[in-house]
């Protein structure tokens, strides 16, 4: 796995009422780079993450992941691309409440080819162990603490060993010690697998640890 580069050419996102939510200008992120995006609340950080993940459609501009013109793909092709190359960690975890940690982390096994399912389950288990949320006495995720849930969400994103990891505030809701351990695990993991990491965060420790920092202010993205 080699990671994927990201090239943004003047990508813009507008709200239904026409207000500009995001204006990226030209941004290039090489494969394997770790990038933090920071900015005030409501400045457009999550919109940025959603648009490069293909969850929100841009109004204009071009998004290239590696050689793929991502903005030009059909909905189904975008989903397939996401399934193959991108993984996401959402701000509020978004776990399947009725399932256990291991089933949540290995959720992708359900829609992956049969020969990959065992690998995904093993990787999920490994990631849960790394993050200290793999024990027999763990309750279903609905009754886990915020920190435990966040780590399950990260384990889910890593279980498929993606080329790109997109994370929205992964250390929010964590105590300092857990947050620092997560930052370290995340960076070790992404560097070892040469993943491209793009993370939206307010966390100063995380921002300090990455290769590059981008800032979003009033929807405008630029190097910080």
């Amino acid at each position: 796995m080699m990671g994927l580069s990201l090239a943004l050419r003047d990508v813009s996102v507008t709200a239904d009422n026409g207000r500009v939510l995001l204006q990226t200008g030209d941004v290039d992120i090489p494969a394997g780079q770790t990038v933090a995006v920071r900015g005030p609340s409501g400045a457009g950080k999550s919109t940025f993450l959603n648009v490069i993940a293909g969850l929100t459609m841009p109004r204009g501009g071009a998004i290239h992941w590696g050689d793929t013109a991502f903005h030009a793909l059909s909905g189904a092709a975008r989903t397939a691309f996401r399934g193959q190359y991108l993984s996401m960690v959402f701000q509020d975890h978004l776990l399947f409440e009725e399932l256990g940690a291991e089933q949540n982390a290995a959720i992708a096994a359900g829609f992956s080819p049969r020969d990959q399912r065992a690998t995904i389950r093993a990787a999920a288990k490994q990631a849960l162990m790394t993050f200290g949320v793999h024990r027999d006495d763990l309750p279903p995720v609905a009754r886990m603490s915020g920190g435990e849930r966040q780590r399950v969400a990260v384990a889910r994103a890593l279980a498929r060993t993606p080329d790109v990891l997109l994370a929205d505030e992964p250390t929010a809701n964590l105590d300092r010690q857990t947050a620092d351990r997560l930052i370290e695990d995340l960076l070790v993991h992404t560097k070892r697998h040469n993943m491209t990491l793009i993370v939206v965060s307010h966390d100063a420790n995380l921002i300090m640890a990455v290769d590059r920092v981008l800032g979003v202010d009033s929807g405008v993205l630029r190097d910080a």
Binding site: G83, M88, F90, E97, F111, P113, R117
Partner: protein, 436 residues
């Protein structure tokens, strides 16, 4: 092609129709589920709104149970009435309504009809093509049971072997049907009339001993108390049919002048082919002959229109329930919209998300259908025993091909419809749907 189809055994036709209904379900399943393992997610959805899911399963089960129960009941009723007329080849009565004669002689329903007199009976009995002419006289009852006056040959015809005891030897003895809850050796005093009009004590002093019981016949006659027709005449103060001559023979031959009248005469011909010509022969100004089986099917034919309307109503209500279930399902899927959008955001293809929704919906539908089929057995046996108590008809409750076909058609409709919410429920901005 049509001839080929009609030439197939019924069993083969039924299995082919069932296969034709279920194959599309299997095709949808294969198309949606191929190379996926959605079961973990399906279990999660089933667990998430357990109470709502249970209500849905209950709704489906009730609709299947009522639909199948009605069909099974209607078939059971037809079968039971065919069985009830089975032993009554030809009935001769006074001219009047064929249906009234049928209800009276076969179903033992009280009716005000004329009597067959001695001369007419003697003529019937003397006909060389008549193997048995058994007079039947109604009018008396013992609470809940009609007391029927007849001859020993009729008992032998209805129940060749008695379940217990023996046939009557004197006018003060009676043989009871299989469902009558009296014991051998009991004494009863029949009342004149039937039901609420019965005059208790009108026959004061005439006590009848129960000395035998017939084997079950599956007809309203299981509910009857059979006594010598001469005994019934005596009870009613009419004499004994022998004109006062000492020690008359039990069951005739009757002296035409002293034959005190019978409500109906059961005629068994010497050979089956003779039935229709006997019917024509005995249908004239002073008497009327009916084939109970034919009158019964005429009645069913007449009621066929009503049956058609009921079937249509069943199908319409089944359809309405199906629509209600699907509308509900669409709402349920709204409840799951966030989870489904999340799957999409995690890279699950649309087909996988559809497979999850479809498997979930089909889980509810299949479970509800199976419970419904089992419940319909309960519904039919409850209705059957109600009808049995009221009419004495022996009804058997079972699940036949018609019910299985109806259920399979419902499952097929649901399987097709359950694909639709997946198509409509998964549009729009994923990020917005994930936020819920």
């Amino acid at each position: 092609m049509r001839d080929l189809w009609l030439g197939l055994p019924v069993m083969a036709q039924d299995s082919m129709i069932l296969t034709a209904l279920l194959v599309p379900v299997a095709v949808i399943a294969v198309v949606l589920l191929r190379r996926f393992a959605p079961y973990v997610m399906v279990r999660a959805l089933l667990r998430r709104h357990l109470a709502i899911n249970a209500v849905f399963v209950g709704l489906i089960a009730m609709s299947v149970a009522i639909g199948c129960g009605l069909i099974a009941q209607e078939r059971g009723l037809r079968r039971a009435s065919a069985q009830a007329t089975d032993k009554f080849d030809l009935i001769v009565g006074a001219p009047g309504s064929e249906v009234t004669l049928l209800f009276s002689a076969v179903y033992l329903q009280p009716a005000d009809i004329g009597l067959v007199d001695g001369e007419a009976f003697a003529e019937i009995a003397a006909n060389p093509r008549v193997a048995l002419a058994a007079p039947i006289a109604f009018g008396d009852s013992w609470p809940g049971h009609p007391a029927v006056g007849t001859v020993p040959e009729l008992i032998a015809h209805l129940s060749p072997q008695l379940a217990q005891g023996h046939g009557f030897a004197t006018y003060q003895q009676a043989v009871i049907g299989a469902s009558v809850t009296l014991s051998l050796g009991d004494y009863i005093a029949p009342a004149h009339g039937v039901g609420q009009l019965a005059e208790q004590g009108a026959h004061g002093g005439h006590e009848i001993a129960i000395i035998g019981q017939m084997a079950p016949t599956g007809t309203p006659w299981d509910n009857a108390i059979l006594m010598p027709i001469e005994g019934l005449w005596q009870v009613d103060g009419l004499g004994d049919g022998a004109g006062g001559v000492a020690a008359p023979l039990m069951g005739g031959p009757f002296d035409a002048a002293h034959f005190l009248g019978a409500t109906a005469v059961l005629v068994i011909p010497t050979e089956p082919d003779a039935t229709d010509s006997l019917r024509q022969q005995f249908t004239r100004d002073d008497m009327m002959a009916i084939l109970p089986g034919a009158v019964s099917s005429q009645l069913h034919g007449l009621m066929g229109d009503i049956r058609g309307a009921v079937s249509l109503l069943t199908v319409v209500s089944q359809g309405l329930v199906a629509i209600a279930v699907l509308a509900g399902l669409t709402l349920l899927i709204r409840l799951f919209a966030r989870q489904l959008a999340l799957l999409h955001a995690l890279g699950a293809p649309l087909r996988f998300v559809s497979a999850v929704i479809w498997s979930y919906a089909m889980g509810l539908v299949l479970l509800g259908s199976v419970i419904g089929l089992i419940l319909s057995l309960g519904v039919t046996s409850a209705l059957s025993s109600m009808i049995e108590i009221r009419t004495g008809l022996s009804m058997t409750a079972d699940i036949g091909w018609a019910e299985i076909r109806l259920t399979a058609a419902f499952i097929l409709a649901a399987a097709i419809a359950a694909v639709l919410p997946a198509l409509f429920g998964l549009r729009g901005d994923i990020a917005r749907r994930v936020r819920g």
